[in-house]
C-alpha cells in the first residue's frame, strides 16, 4: 500500500514537473528547505543528552521561565516540532512537570514566529543563496570530522545552508507565476474563505511537516501577489494548527504524561486559532496599528504577515497562560492511562488441574511467562531494550552510550503485565492445593509461588530504582553518572546471564550455575558501596545524591537477588533425586563469602584442591 502511494506521488510530481518547470523549482525549494530542517534536527540532536536537557529541567520551575525557554530554544533551533517532541519525551519520562511542558509549548509557538520574520524581513530581500554557499562548504568539511560536536556543528551549518537555498528556490519559482496567473482572483471572501484557507494551511503543514515551509510558501505567494493578504492570514493560522499533528503523532506513542502534553498542545493551538479566526478583523486592524508604530510600510504585507503570526500566537499565550493550572488539572483528570486489558495467563487452564504433574508444569510455564514480562520491563526500566541484552553487544558500551532513558509508564505495565499474572498464578496454586497432593508436589508449588513473588519484588525494586535513575541517571556530573551506569550494568549483565541459562536444559548443573551469579552480585554490590563511600570521602559526591545512590544500590541488589531466586525455581530439575543432588552441592552464604574473600586477598592465585576421587 505504502509503495503504491509512493509510486502515485512520484508519477504525479513527475507529470507536474514535466508540464511546469517553475513548479519543479518551487518543489525543489521545499525539498531543500525540508532537508535543511532535517539536518538542523540531526545537528541539535547531537547536543541533546547533556546541556539541553539540563537547561530544560532548570528552566521549567516557573511558567514564565518555561515560556521564555520555549521562545529561546525554538528561536535558536527554528523548529517548534523538535522542541515539542523533546518536551513530550521529557514529560513522559517525568523529568519535567506537565505545567512546565505546557509553558514550553506556548513559548515554542511564539518562538517559531521568528522564522516568519527571518523569511519576510531577510529571506526575500537579500540574496541569501550567496550566504548558503560558504555554509555548505564549511558544513561538509565539519561533517568529515570524527568528533561528535564538530559533526553536529556540520549538520547545523548544512541545515541552515539548505534552508537558505530552499527559500531562494521557492522565491525564484514563484516569480514567473506573478505574470501568468492571478491566484488572488480565486480568493474567497468572508468567513468561508478564512476557514477554507485555514484548512489549506493546515493541510500544507501536515504534508510538508513544517510550518516554516508553509509560511515560506505563503510569504512567497503573497510577495508575488498570488494570495490576498486576508487569505494569507488564514493560511498562517492553518499552518499553526498543522504543527500540532506531528505532536499528536509523537504524543500518541508516549506515556500518559506525553499524551496529556500533546492534548495540551492541540488545545492551545485550537483555542488560539479559534480566537484568531473570530477576531481576524480586529487582529488585522491591530497589525496595521502596530505596523504603523514600528514603522512597517502600509503595503509591506510580508512583514505584516510576520507581525500577524507573532501577534496571534501572543494572543494565545496571553489568553491561556492564566489557565495553565486549570488546564493541567483537567488533563490529569481526563487523560488517565487507559488501562490496557490485563495480560491473560497462557498456561493456566482448568484442564491442567487434572493431575498434580500437569498443574505444576502449567504453573512453572506461567512463572516463566511472568519472568519474561519482568525481564522486558526491568530492561526498559534501566534504559535498555531487551534486544540489546539478548544480543552480544557490549553492555558497558550500551549503558555508557545511553543519552536518554526510554519513556516508560512502569506503574501501568506493572499492573497489566506483572501483577495480573502473579495474581492468576497465586489463585491457580490455591486451587491446586485444594486437591490431595504429596509433600513433593506441595513443595514444588510453594517454590514456584515464591518465585512468582520474587519476580514481583524484582519489578518493584526496579520501580524504586527508576525514580532516581530518571533524575540522576543521565547526570552530566561524571561521578554520579558513573555510579548509576555501574548499577545498570550490574542488572543488565545478570539479566543476560540468566537468559543464557534459561536456554539450557533445566537440571542440577543449570541451577548450580546461579551460584556464580550470586557471587558476582555480592562482589559487585560490595565494590559499588566501597566506591560510593570513597567518593563521599573525597567529596566527589554530595551527601544528598550519595544517599540516593546508596538506596539505589540496595534496590539494584534486590533486583538481582530476587531474579536469581526466581530463576532457581525455573531452572531446577524436574527429577527429585537430581534436585536433591543440586541442593546438596549449592553453595551457601558462608561458602560464597569465603570465595569472595579469597579472591579479594589474592591477586589471583587459586589454590584448587585435586579433586580426583
Amino acid at each position: 500500500m505504502q509503495r503504491l502511494w509512493l509510486a502515485a506521488i512520484f508519477l504525479l510530481l513527475g507529470y507536474t514537473f514535466w508540464i511546469s518547470p517553475d513548479l519543479s523549482e518551487i518543489a525543489a525549494g521545499i525539498a531543500l528547505f525540508m532537508f535543511g530542517m532535517r539536518s538542523l534536527e540531526t545537528g541539535f540532536k547531537t547536543f541533546t543528552g547533556g546541556p539541553l536537557e539540563n537547561a530544560l529541567r532548570r528552566s521549567t520551575s516557573r511558567l514564565w521561565k518555561a515560556i521564555g525557554f520555549g521562545i529561546a530554544t525554538t528561536t535558536v533551533m527554528q523548529s517548534s516540532t523538535l522542541i515539542s517532541l523533546l518536551t513530550i519525551s521529557f514529560v513522559s519520562a517525568e523529568m519535567i512537570t506537565l505545567a512546565g511542558g505546557i509553558g514550553i509549548i506556548m513559548g515554542a509557538n511564539l518562538g517559531t514566529t521568528t522564522g516568519a520574520w527571518l523569511i519576510a524581513g531577510f529571506g526575500l530581500r537579500v540574496d541569501i543563496a550567496a550566504y548558503a554557499m560558504p555554509m555548505l562548504v564549511f558544513g561538509v568539511i565539519l561533517l568529515f570530522n570524527q568528533g561528535r560536536t564538530l559533526k553536529g556543528l556540520g549538520y547545523l551549518l548544512l541545515g541552515l545552508a539548505f534552508l537558505f537555498l530552499g527559500i531562494h528556490f521557492m522565491k525564484e519559482g514563484f516569480e514567473p507565476f506573478q505574470a501568468r496567473f492571478d491566484l488572488a482572483a480565486y480568493s474567497v471572501p468572508g468567513i468561508t474563505g478564512v476557514l477554507l484557507f485555514t484548512l489549506l494551511g493546515m493541510a500544507a503543514t501536515f504534508v510538508m511537516q513544517s510550518s516554516h515551509a508553509t509560511l515560506l510558501l505563503i510569504i512567497a505567494a503573497l510577495a508575488t501577489g498570488q494570495v490576498s493578504y486576508e487569505n494569507a492570514l488564514a493560511l498562517a493560522i492553518g499552518a499553526n494548527l498543522g504543527t500540532t499533528i506531528t505532536a499528536v503523532i509523537g504524543g500518541w506513542t508516549a506515556a500518559v504524561g506525553g499524551r496529556r502534553l500533546a492534548a495540551a498542545h492541540v488545545l492551545f493551538n485550537l483555542l488560539t486559532a479559534a480566537a484568531a479566526i473570530l477576531l481576524i478583523q480586529q487582529m488585522a486592524w491591530t497589525v496595521d496599528r502596530v505596523a504603523d508604530l514600528v514603522g512597517i510600510a502600509e503595503d509591506d504585507f510580508l512583514l505584516k504577515l510576520a507581525l500577524f503570526h507573532t501577534l496571534f500566537n501572543l494572543l494565545g499565550v496571553v489568553m491561556l497562560a492564566p489557565f495553565v493550572g486549570v488546564m493541567e488539572r483537567l488533563l490529569t483528570r481526563h487523560i488517565t492511562f487507559t488501562r490496557k486489558p490485563a495480560e491473560q495467563p497462557r498456561f493456566l487452564y482448568p484442564e491442567a488441574l487434572k493431575t498434580p504433574a500437569t498443574a505444576v508444569s502449567a504453573v512453572r510455564n506461567e512463572v516463566g511467562h511472568l519472568y519474561d514480562n519482568a525481564y522486558g520491563l526491568i530492561a526498559l526500566g534501566i534504559g535498555l531494550r531487551r534486544s540489546v541484552i539478548d544480543s552480544r553487544q557490549s553492555l558497558t558500551e550500551a549503558v555508557r552510550g545511553t543519552r536518554r532513558l526510554i519513556a516508560l509508564d512502569l506503574d501501568e505495565v506493572y499492573e497489566t503485565k506483572i501483577k495480573s499474572l502473579h495474581s492468576a498464578i497465586v489463585a491457580f496454586i490455591g486451587e491446586v492445593q485444594q486437591r490431595e497432593l504429596t509433600e513433593e508436589w506441595t513443595q514444588q508449588l510453594n517454590q514456584l509461588q515464591e518465585a512468582s513473588h520474587d519476580i514481583v519484588e524484582a519489578v518493584k525494586a526496579t520501580k524504586h530504582l527508576r525514580k532516581n535513575l530518571t533524575r540522576h541517571g543521565m547526570s552530566p556530573d561524571p561521578a554520579i553518572r558513573e555510579r548509576y551506569d555501574a548499577l545498570r550494568i550490574q542488572i543488565a549483565k545478570l539479566l543476560r546471564e540468566i537468559q543464557v541459562l534459561r536456554t539450557e536444559e533445566p537440571g542440577a548443573v543449570t541451577s548450580l550455575s546461579l551460584d556464580p551469579l550470586r557471587l558476582a552480585l555480592q562482589t559487585e554490590h560490595r565494590r559499588n558501596m566501597e566506591s560510593i563511600n570513597q567518593m563521599i570521602r573525597s567529596r566527589r559526591l554530595a551527601p544528598y545524591v550519595a544517599t540516593s545512590i546508596i538506596n539505589d544500590a540496595g534496590y539494584a541488589f534486590g533486583v538481582g537477588e530476587n531474579l536469581i531466586e526466581a530463576s532457581r525455581a525455573l531452572l531446577i530439575s524436574p527429577e527429585q533425586t537430581e534436585r536433591i543432588a543440586g541442593e546438596r552441592l549449592a553453595l551457601d552464604e558462608q561458602d560464597l563469602a569465603r570465595i569472595a574473600n579469597a579472591a579479594r586477598s589474592t591477586v589471583y592465585e587459586p589454590n584448587h584442591r585435586d579433586l580426583t576421587p
Binding site: V509, E578, I595, A599
Partner: protein, 93 residues
C-alpha cells in the same frame, strides 16, 4: 498375600533409606561428572585471550564450580561412610 511376598515388601520398606541414599550418591556422581566437564571447559576458556574483567568473571565461575565439586565429594564420602557404617552394624547384629 503370600508370606513370601509380604516378607519381600517388608524388606523393601526397611531398606528404603538405604536405597534413597544409593540414588542420591548416584545422582551426585552424575552431577559431579558434569561439573568436572564444566570446570575443564572454564579452564580452557581461561587460556584464551581475555580482558581483565572477563578473566575475573571466568575465574570466579571456576572457583564456584570447584567449591561445588568439593561439597559434592564431601557428601559422597559422607554417604559412603554411612553406607559402610550401617553395613558393619548390621554385620555386628
Amino acid at each position: 498375600m503370600k508370606t513370601r511376598t509380604l516378607l519381600e515388601k517388608l524388606g523393601h520398606f526397611l531398606g528404603q533409606d538405604k536405597a534413597s541414599q544409593r540414588e542420591e550418591m548416584k545422582s551426585i556422581r552424575e552431577v559431579l561428572k558434569k561439573l568436572k566437564d564444566k570446570e575443564k571447559h572454564l579452564r580452557e576458556e581461561l587460556d584464551r585471550d581475555l580482558d581483565q574483567d572477563e578473566r575475573h568473571e571466568v575465574q570466579a565461575k571456576l572457583d564456584v564450580v570447584h567449591a561445588q565439586r568439593l561439597k559434592g565429594l564431601d557428601r559422597v564420602k559422607e554417604l559412603r561412610a554411612e553406607h559402610s557404617g550401617s553395613g558393619k552394624s548390621k554385620a555386628a547384629d
